[in-house]
Symmetry: C2
Subunit: 443 residues, 2 copies
């Protein structure tokens, strides 16, 4: 790897491009300008697209008819560095230690997107052109929900017409294990508010004669699951596609012990989940009902003898193919209403939904991605799904009509979003090779 690559990586990392905090607005613009210059210098036609939030960097090579068109997506914004005191070195002063670059954004996503840029640069330097038509779209709002991206995609739908998206913003299942993520869970949200008396009551003066809203809420939440960890909402699993045999077998052969990993990372006293599935299957391929928050009554120190007027809980459901968010919300509402304890009323507010995603890793595009990953890392490719949701993948499908190849370069211990975020140089170099290989394979 040429020595100036590391210098460029450091320059990119030094911008405190924290999108969640308006204080950094100018830093995001500076960071985007740096990208525009960089992309222009390697021969791409580049523009800075203003949005209501932070600008989008959009670069293209000279498109030629008859070639595949590939959209490479990344983001230059980063998470806030707090808590600062837990960093071993300042978050925006990158340092190299034992082959790892430590800085906010090193993995998420500056290291990964820069490796693609440098791969493009090398290909152009060596061949004078890329083997495919390329759109590079690098946004500055990924950490705040990619709010401007759908508008950008819609407005430029024709210009952005392409065959596939390539994204390196997910994880490698283990070090030196090239990984293709071909599925994501969806998500949908609701909030439950249970109300009893019109004001908080003295539990001595009224206790026993009125229903306690916290008790009622607990009784509702307790029957979201059976004791075997299955969601107990009638119809919840009706549309769930069973895991395919090849998937279960492939996942069992992965070079990770999912159960052990989760025990160690989370520190839970024991694993718990839906009977009949191991941890990896539970996270990647099974739907959930999670209570993300609960509150009601007195939460301060000591005791306050009060019967709360109301209590609330925030829920999200993780969805898998072929579940439908709206239907799940309706089933959940019906379940809660049917089981509402006496003496209280309930309000349910539904939140936003994001669809699940699945693509066939054995499709023509999927096989090309696998060949590229093998070529770049010289190892067998891990085919995985992930438990989280990545909204841009759905946006690419819905707005541009394309599949996304998720070829992540983040290691499990990269500490994205946490202090001491880091990215190994071997993955930085691997990313450069991967970009060259995937454009070649997709050509």
């Amino acid at each position: 790897m040429p020595q100036n690559y590391l210098g460029e990586f450091y320059s990119f990392l030094r911008f405190p491009s924290v999108s969640t905090d308006d204080e950094y607005k100018a830093n995001l613009v500076e960071c985007a300008d740096w990208l525009v210059n960089k992309l222009g210098s390697i021969g791409l036609a580049t523009q800075l697209v203003p949005t209501r939030g932070h600008p989008i960097v959009w670069a293209r090579n000279k498109h030629q008819p008859g070639r595949r068109t590939v959209l490479i997506y990344g983001h230059y914004d980063v998470q806030p560095p707090d808590p600062l005191e837990l960093w071993d070195s300042p978050p925006f002063e990158p340092v190299l230690k034992d082959g790892y670059v430590f800085a906010r954004g090193a993995t998420d996503n500056k290291g990964q997107i820069l490796s693609h840029i440098l791969g493009i640069q090398e290909t152009i330097e060596q061949n004078g052109d890329l083997p495919v038509n390329v759109h590079l779209v690098i946004e500055g709002e990924e950490e705040v929900g990619s709010v401007s991206l759908p508008g950008f995609l819609n407005e430029n739908r024709d210009a952005l017409k392409c065959d596939v998206a390539v994204v390196s913003d997910t994880g490698m299942i283990a070090r030196q294990t090239p990984t293709l993520s071909y599925g994501l869970r969806g998500v949908t949200a609701m909030e439950i508010k249970v109300t009893g008396p019109k004001m908080d009551l003295h539990s001595g003066v009224f206790g026993g004669a009125v229903a306690n809203p916290i008790t009622a809420l607990a009784q509702l939440l307790a029957i979201l699951h059976d004791r075997d960890g299955r969601v107990a909402i009638a119809g919840f699993y009706d549309r769930v596609k069973p895991l395919e045999d090849w998937e279960r077998e492939a996942w069992r052969k992965l070079p990770v012990d999912g159960d052990k990993l989760i025990l160690e990372e989370t520190g839970v006293p024991q694993l718990f989940g839906e009977a009949g599935y191991n941890s990896i299957e539970r996270i990647w391929a099974r739907p959930t009902a999670e209570i993300n928050g609960i509150g009601g009554g007195y939460q301060g120190k000591g005791t306050k003898t009060v019967i709360a007027s109301h209590a609330f809980a925030k829920l999200t459901f993780r969805l898998v193919p072929e579940q439908r968010a709206d239907e799940i919300l309706e089933l959940a509402k019906a379940h809660l209403r049917k089981n509402l304890p006496k003496g209280v009323t309930m309000e349910i507010t539904t939140g936003h939904s994001g669809p699940w995603y699945i693509t066939d890793p054995h499709s023509q595009l999927g096989e090309a991605a696998q060949r590229a990953l093998r070529k770049a890392f010289d190892r067998e490719v891990a085919l995985i799904r992930e438990g989280g949701s990545i909204p841009i993948v759905s946006q690419f499908r819905e707005i541009l009509g394309i599949e996304t190849l998720l070829m992540g370069l983040a290691l499990p211990d990269c500490r994205a979003h946490s202090p001491n975020e880091n990215f190994p140089l071997e993955n930085f170099e691997g990313g450069i090779r991967l970009n060259k290989a995937v454009l070649q394979e997709l050509a």
Copy 2:
């Protein structure tokens, strides 16, 4: 009623003797000094007893051997007046409207204790002496848990030796209905903390493979009761004394519709409680398990897809004769431990306990109290119990070995602790008559 009584009542009410806020410390001392002067002026030997907090006013007539000794208790401290904007007139500028005096402390407890003082004054003016030996103990820390009172009682146990305590700091069941409260519920407290992962987890990345502490806590809290509102802890009711027939009958004849009152006051959609009892029985004579507060995970606006590291709930149990607080806590702990869902750990912290209280309204002292109430108000006496706890009653029993006659003068709509607290002059005058009658009857 002599006109200067109202002037003295107003003077007493004008002291902002808010014990919960150190800012008012000097006002409490001024208020106590006013009492010392007043009690001295009517011929009682009075002293101001310093404590770590606010001083106690202690006054005696000249005790004579062979007479009954009566301790009359009250407090000169008041609740904070907030929220100020909800008062129709300033809380420390008393006004008379339609026969009611409006001011903070009007009912709780200045109006009630002053009526006793004026009763004593009238008796001394008329007879030169009281028919019994009297201790007047008026503390300044009732609204902050009477923290100094047990020390005062213990230090002066011999000097305070007496036969019975008389307290007007509870309620009348209805207007013009003299009321003797002969029972109180006890209380004991615990806090439950359920822990799963060592830190908050992303519910996409881990959801499904680890137990959710909020779900586990809800499942625990849901089985505190059965669906009929009975506490489902094994052994919880073992020591509960059944309601006596005369009590149920007496309560049914009270001039109040308890169910209707509670529906109106609380605004609950319907009453709910232990099957087989009406609201008054549930509150006065049946034990409860109440969740006073719950918290865990994300409680802000919108959605955060997190699996919380832990969740907690604050519980209190209201206890009735002959339940024992320590035993109930142990039964509850055993119940929770036995039912702890998989995948989480639990810590239980127990809080302080206050015992229940019951005295026989048909004892010699009880009958004397009833005669005095009848004499003062010329109506049949309501014999009631109350759902709350009054720690001083237990302290009098434990430290001085005496029963307490709870002869409250507060009306249901007196707004004690709330804006627009008020006390009717008819109860002020009734309290003066009551004091004269009860000292006579106890003689």
